[in-house]
C-alpha cells in the first residue's frame, strides 16, 4: 500500500503545483455560490438548511469532475511519463488507487471549502447539522462515482479533450437516468424491471435521498461498488493497452 500512498502524494501535489487546483477551487466556489443564493434562493426560502446548495452539486460535478479527471491517465500517456510510472516497482492496482484517491481527496478539499455557507445558515437559524453532514457525505460519494467513471475514460485515450467530452456524456447518463423524462421514455416500451434498473443507476435520486438526511446503506453500497467497478475497469484498460 506504500506504493499507492507514494502515487497519491505525487498526484495531490501535482494539482497544487499547477494553476489547475486554484482555478478549480475558484470556479467551484463561485458557481456553487451563484446556484445556492440566486437560483436556489437560499435566503428567500426562509428555511435554515442547505438543500438549495446540494441540489446543484450533480450538475456542477457533471462539468467540473471530468475536467479534473481527464488528465489522470491521458496526460501521462501523452507526455510519456506513463512508461516511467508503469516500470516502477509499484503494482498497477496501487497506481490506479493512488491516482483516484488523490483526485477524490482534492475534490473533498474543494467541496469542504464551501463551509462558509454552512456557517451562514447556522448563524441565521438553527439548521439540522446531521442532515447537512449527510449531504456532504452524499456529495463526496457522488463525486467519487463521477471520478471513477472519468478515470476509466481517461485511461482509454491519450487525448484529454476526448476524455473530457466522453466523460461528460457518460456522467450525464448516470446523472439523468432517474429523471422522469428518461424513465417515461423507457416506460412506454420496456418492461418494468428495465425501468427500475435504469432508475436505480440514477445519481440524482440516490443523492437527493441522502441530502434529506437518510443515509441508506444501499445508496452507500451503490456508490462504493460503482467506484470499485470503474476503478477495476481502468486497471483492465491500462493492462489491455500494455498487451495491445
Amino acid at each position: 500500500m506504500s506504493g499507492a500512498f507514494t502515487v497519491f502524494r505525487r498526484e495531490l501535489s501535482s494539482y497544487f503545483s499547477t494553476p489547475v487546483a486554484y482555478i478549480f477551487i475558484i470556479i467551484f466556489l463561485f458557481l456553487s455560490g451563484i446556484f445556492t443564493f440566486y437560483i436556489g434562493n437560499l435566503f428567500e426560502r426562509g428555511q435554515a438548511d442547505l438543500r438549495p446548495f446540494f441540489l446543484f452539486h450533480p450538475w456542477l460535478y457533471l462539468l467540473l469532475i471530468p475536467a479534473i479527471a481527464m488528465r489522470m491517465w491521458a496526460e501521462e500517456r501523452k507526455s510519456g511519463t506513463i512508461e516511467l510510472l508503469l516500470t516502477l516497482p509499484i503494482s498497477l492496482p496501487a497506481i490506479a488507487v493512488g491516482k483516484f484517491l488523490a483526485a477524490w481527496f482534492f475534490t473533498i478539499i474543494v467541496v469542504s471549502l464551501t463551509f462558509p455557507i454552512w456557517l451562514t445558515v447556522s448563524w441565521l437559524g438553527r439548521p439540522d447539522h446531521g442532515v447537512i453532514v449527510a449531504g456532504y457525505i452524499g456529495s463526496f460519494l457522488m463525486a467519487g462515482g463521477y471520478l471513477a467513471i472519468c478515470s476509466c475514460l481517461s485511461a482509454a485515450t491519450k487525448n484529454q479533450v476526448i476524455a473530457f467530452v466522453i466523460g461528460v456524456m457518460v456522467c450525464f447518463l448516470f446523472t439523468v437516468s432517474g429523471t422522469p423524462i428518461v424513465l417515461e421514455t423507457f416506460a412506454s416500451w420496456a418492461p418494468s424491471i428495465v425501468v427500475d434498473t435504469v432508475a436505480s443507476f440514477s445519481f440524482i435520486t440516490r443523492f437527493n435521498a441522502i441530502t434529506e438526511g437518510v443515509i441508506d446503506i444501499r445508496d452507500v453500497v451503490y456508490f462504493t461498488s460503482l467506484i470499485a467497478i470503474w476503478l477495476l475497469a481502468s486497471i483492465l484498460v491500462i493492462d489491455l493497452k500494455k498487451a495491445k
Binding site: S14, L84, T87, P89, K242, A243
Partner: protein, 298 residues
C-alpha cells in the same frame, strides 16, 4: 546465471510484428549495444524487458525473475531510462528524485545517501530546485539518468541515453556507463556507432524485429566482428549498413567477410576516407576464400 535472459521474444501490434523471435543473454559486466535503424524493434524490446509492454510470446527474466509473472521483483532490479527521458514537468529534479526514491522504497539514511550519490554522479546539483520543464534538454536527460541509477540497480536499460546531448555531455554519460559497467548488466540502444566502440563490450544489430548480427570487439585489434564481418575501428557504419540494408546475407561454412579501410562508396556502401597508405590487400567486403585464391595467383 545471466542477469538478463530473453528467449524467443515476440511482440505483435495487430498484423504488424515489431519484435520477431529475439533471443539473447546479458551477463554482469556486459554493456550491450542495441543497434538498428528506426522502427527496428529496439525500443519495443526494451519496453518489454522493463515490463511496460506485455510480450505476445517468449520469456524475459531479470536476475532470475520472470518479468511477466514476477514483475515487481524484476522491476526492483532494473533502472530504466525511457526514450526521450520523460519526467513530470511541474516537479523539480529534487521532488522528482524524491518521488522515485519513495517508489523504490528507499528510506531514511539509505534514501539520503542514494539521492546525494545520484545527484553528485550525474551533476544536476545546480538545477535541483528548478522546475523540470524549464531545464535544457541535456539536463532533462541527466535527470532521467539520475532516476535510473538512483537505487543502484543490477540491470540498467538506457534507451538512447546520449541523444540530444552536446559532445561534453556525451563524454560524461559514456564515462558514467563505463564506470558502472563492471558491477551491472547494461543495455543501451543507440544510433551512434562510435558509442558502441567507446562503451560497449557486445552489440546486437536488430532490424525488422530480428537480431541480424552479434558483434564483439576484436581482442587483438581495435575493430569489431559482427558474425563473420570485420569492421576496423571507426568503420562500424559500413558493416551496419551492409547488414541492415540486406546487402549482407548471413555467411555460411566458414566464409569470412571483412571490411577494411580505403574502399569507395560504390564498393562498400560506406563513406570511407581515401587510404593513408596504399595496400594491395585493401578490399571492401571480400570473402576469405576469394582472398586466398587471389594470394595464390600472385
Amino acid at each position: 546465471m545471466a542477469m538478463i535472459e530473453i528467449r524467443d521474444l515476440v511482440k505483435r501490434f495487430g498484423a504488424f510484428t515489431a519484435v520477431d523471435g529475439v533471443t539473447f543473454n546479458v551477463e554482469r559486466g556486459t554493456v550491450l549495444g542495441f543497434l538498428g535503424p528506426n522502427g527496428a524493434g529496439k525500443s519495443t524490446t526494451m519496453k518489454m524487458l522493463t515490463g511496460f509492454l506485455t510480450p505476445s510470446a517468449g520469456r524475459i527474466s531479470v536476475c532470475g525473475y520472470d518479468v511477466t509473472t514476477r514483475s515487481i521483483q524484476a522491476k526492483r532490479r532494473i533502472g530504466y531510462l525511457p526514450e526521450g527521458a520523460p519526467a513530470y514537468p511541474d516537479m523539480t529534479p529534487a521532488e522528482f528524485l524524491g518521488f522515485i526514491a519513495d517508489a523504490r522504497s528507499l528510506r531514511g539514511k539509505t534514501r539520503r545517501v542514494k539521492l546525494a550519490e545520484a545527484i553528485e554522479r550525474i551533476q544536476i546539483g545546480p538545477v535541483l530546485h528548478q522546475p523540470i520543464d524549464t531545464l535544457s534538454k541535456g539536463f532533462k536527460r541527466r535527470v532521467g539518468l539520475a532516476q535510473a541509477i538512483l537505487h543502484d540497480p543490477d540491470v540498467l536499460v538506457l534507451d538512447e541515453p546520449t541523444d540530444g546531448l552536446d559532445p561534453n555531455q556525451k563524454f560524461e554519460v559514456r564515462k558514467l556507463i563505463q564506470d558502472m559497467a563492471r558491477e551491472k548488466a547494461i543495455i543501451i540502444s543507440t544510433h551512434i556507432l562510435e558509442e558502441v566502440e567507446s562503451v560497449c563490450t557486445r552489440a546486437l544489430i536488430i532490424s525488422r524485429g530480428r537480431v541480424l548480427a552479434e558483434g564483439r570487439p576484436d581482442e587483438k585489434n581495435n575493430g569489431w566482428w559482427f558474425n563473420d564481418l570485420y569492421a576496423e575501428s571507426g568503420r562500424l557504419d559500413a558493416v551496419f549498413r551492409k547488414i541492415t540494408t540486406g546487402a549482407f546475407e548471413a555467411p555460411s561454412s566458414g566464409v569470412q567477410h571483412k571490411i577494411e579501410l580505403g574502399k569507395t562508396d560504390s564498393e562498400t556502401g560506406s563513406v570511407c576516407n581515401p587510404p593513408q597508405q596504399p595496400s594491395p590487400a585493401r578490399v571492401g567486403v571480400s570473402d576469405s576464400a576469394a582472398k586466398k585464391k587471389k594470394g595464390e595467383k600472385a
